[in-house]
Symmetry: C2
Subunit: 149 residues, 2 copies
């Protein structure tokens, strides 16, 4: 699977990328990166802390959050806010996409490319606004919950 391969190669290069930037490679950062390399899609800051603690109970939350900040500067994760306002990190450097969140069932999905394009175009046209999709979470009700109403 090309996607998995691509991500795997990317994570193994992380130590070198850190050093190239004059940043240090530490055991704590390694742990965060290992958890992320096993993570698909999205993860909340709090969940990442939990996962790291599962590996090493001495994990300090502030260190994890700081590592996430650095990884975001390197473009390896991208932060946004979930429907409840909490930090949510999109793992990997895939194309920007927004999310739909159903307040009824709690499910979430990526906004389809077609819809995203239309939304972006609409706001550019009506408001001259350039949308940052990675920070867009649209709350509402999904088809299934609508049907069940």
């Amino acid at each position: 699977m090309a996607t998995s391969t691509d991500l795997r190669v990317s994570w193994s290069a992380v130590p070198a990328r850190f050093r190239a930037r004059g940043l240090r490679w530490t055991p704590q950062r390694r742990a965060v990166v290992e958890v992320l390399s096993e993570t698909d899609g999205h993860i909340t800051g709090a969940e990442l802390v939990e996962r790291c603690r599962a590996r090493d109970a001495q994990t300090i939350p502030s260190t994890v959050y700081r590592t996430l900040d650095v990884l975001e500067e390197l473009g390896l994760v991208r932060h946004g806010h979930g429907a409840d306002g909490r930090e949510e990190y999109h793992v990997g450097a895939g194309p920007e996409h927004g999310h739909l969140y159903c307040a009824t069932c709690g499910g979430s999905w990526e906004i389809s490319d077609a819809a995203a394009e239309r939304i972006v175009a609409t706001l550019a046209e009506t408001d001259g606004f350039e949308v940052d999709l990675s920070h867009v979470t649209v709350v509402g009700r999904c088809r299934a919950c609508d049907a069940g109403a």
Copy 2:
């Protein structure tokens, strides 16, 4: 101004509405309601706490947040999340609207009715998703910042 009049009438009726629901009318709730009655548009939970503390330094944050929860149940405020994920309350019972937030200058605006309609229609069509506009904050870059780039 019709809008101010309308809001003013609404706030003065709040104590009665509370009682009609079997809820108590307390000095703390009065303080919150007074601050809200002087508030136009939106306010964060934290700022409301600050405003109440300006009136009475003994104000307890948890009481303020709980009052906001009750007011939301009564439909007098509506909560959403700002671009940074924090709680933001829309004051008054006006029509649902979403927001645009410029990450560059920090400015925010309501999404125009025309754009909102298009976005809602798009997501209904492509994903069968029913949007809850009050919970939509689109992050990006405004026209002015785009022009200045």
